[in-house]
Homo-oligomer: 345 residues x 2
């Protein structure tokens, strides 16, 4: 209990009667010692309760054994679930996670990407939620060791991992078509994002598979927020409900829309069918239980980490990959045949 501060390698070395180098090298496995010496050191470590100083170690090693996770908003259950999955996977491999939320603060994404430059983190799982003017992509390509997840950064040549948005849209379209809907409203996120585009394309495909060209899709674009869902619902009503079914491109949009539709006395699925996307909120308890496309969020998070760790960052040829994880449709009770008293156009 000599010195006041926490024990260092020096203290261990002294207590074990060896040099600092010896202890360090033993700890790092680059030296094997006779059992007796090893035991002396082990004992010293135990009795001093020595723990390596992480900052010194990182400075010396030039890496941090920490990965960064950049997401738009942790409070959003979708991202929260993904964060949880990444954290768990990282922990299993002895890595810490530093968490960064961008919260639509411009410049934040750039700032966080720069963290890699000094090994502040060893790699980054990067989730954006808005279009990039090329700046992000350039930075990502320059710094490397980034995997882009959930939403694209178009010009970035790094591994990318998305859910199969097109497939999700297709499932929704097919399901709606089976119930006879040929006039549907698509409420997506920002127009430039691939999630918005691909889900739309899938939806169209699913619908057309049944009805050929005799389908009409209206398309509203906004953000993946409850507030936006409410606005879009209002707009839909103002425009005289120009569809018999709605495909809402996230839980939040669906929630916002339901709030408004309910306030206006519109009954789902009697007056209007609704199908959601994500399925991370407890949609099964909603009134009515909401049919939705489910993203395997945890699996995406786990895979993101694997991608980050398994990618060979030297070979620039193999970097720009795009991996799609399949989604599924969870049929509940928010889709019914088109309401008969709903005059279409």
């Amino acid at each position: 209990m000599a010195k006041g501060h926490t024990p260092g390698l020096k203290d261990v070395a002294k207590a074990a009667g060896v040099s600092v180098t010896t202890v360090s090298r033993m700890l790092n496995g680059s030296l094997d010692l006779p059992v007796l010496t090893k035991r002396r050191i082990d004992d010293a470590i135990a009795s001093l309760k020595y723990q390596p100083n992480p900052h010194a170690r990182r400075l010396s090693r030039g890496r941090s054994d920490t990965i960064g996770l950049v997401v738009p908003d942790i409070a959003n259950p979708f991202f929260a679930t993904m964060v949880a999955a990444v954290e768990e996977a990282a922990n299993d491999r002895g890595l810490a996670v530093s968490l960064y939320a961008t919260l639509n603060r411009t410049g934040r994404e750039v700032a966080y990407l720069r963290l890699i430059e000094h090994n502040h983190v060893d790699g980054l799982v990067f989730v954006t939620n808005h279009p990039d003017n090329g700046e992000l992509a350039a930075l990502i390509n320059r710094t490397g060791k980034v995997v882009v997840v959930d939403e694209d950064v178009p010009l970035a040549t790094v591994p990318k991992l998305f859910c199969d948005n097109r497939q999700g849209g297709y499932f929704a379209g097919r399901h709606l078509a089976e119930f006879g809907h040929r006039h549907v409203l698509y409420v997506g996120g920002p127009d430039a994002m691939i999630s918005t585009q691909r889900r739309f394309n899938g939806l169209y495909e699913g619908l057309r598979e049944h009805f050929g060209d005799d389908v009409s899709i209206r398309r509203y674009s906004g953000e993946y927020t409850i507030a936006c869902g409410r606005e879009m619902a209002l707009r839909f009503l103002e425009e005289g409900m120009p569809a018999t079914a709605i495909f809402a491109s996230s839980d939040e949009i669906a929630i916002g829309m339901i709030e408004v539709l309910r306030e206006k006395g519109i009954s789902i699925p009697d007056d209007l069918s609704l199908i959601g996307f994500d399925d991370v909120s407890p949609l099964h308890l909603f009134a009515p239980p909401l049919t939705a496309i489910r993203q395997p969020v945890r699996a995406i998070g786990q895979r993101a980490l694997s991608l980050l760790l398994e990618t060979n960052w030297q070979e620039s040829k193999s970097l720009a990959t795009e991996e799609l994880v399949p989604v599924e449709i969870v049929v509940r009770n928010s889709v019914a045949p088109p309401s008969t008293h709903n005059k279409q156009r």
Copy 2:
């Protein structure tokens, strides 16, 4: 563009024609320089795009400008919201957040608490979800710079921040009493936790205020999970529904119970009233919209950070404080007068 690696203070110093010390001290504000010199340095920094190496800085300064946040499970919306609030508040003050989920892995909490010892983090916001045998408390008291949030670690003498559990229970009790319920089932978390105890006490108080001693509360204890909610609902049914109303002590418990009750065709609030706690999930869209006690989760998160930063950790006298943040009741539609055809005992 000389050396291959990222520029260091040395490079800046050379470019500006001054010493490393000068640059460092200028950057840290411990030296003011003539404008010309200062500009030379600023220019060098800009043109080299110099950024300080965080590890070196931390090692040298002996602090990390990072706070740790330990929670049971990030995927849980309640904790996710709290994490988001803490992260935002920390970011505003220039601090990073390292995130740690315990996920009921024993030993994890202890491991994470030890992070403080080497300034791995400068402080810890600590959220537990199970009883402590004294080990955690001892460690917390030894390491200091910890604030205990949401759930108690009884023997720890550090600042503590909880929602007003008793008040929440009381609101629930009063509300149920006003509808005439005197036989209620309380479904809490682990028995030893203060949230479980205090909410129960509050409930009892609220009920007794109306009915005096003519009340009966059954009490089930479990965990704050959906699975546990389901079990408890099953048990409730097996025991022949010995109450006209249920107070479920978390969103998850309520969700689990509703799932089962719905499967069994029991109608809320006609056959049975239900009131929840937390109100972070979209309970307002449930069938029926769920009345619940709402915790101001974001405010709790923000306050937790303030507490961590504002506490004077030297004065051990002022440390052991307990702050309660008020809750509110959000009345929706899951409580009705006791069902008449529900024979009580």
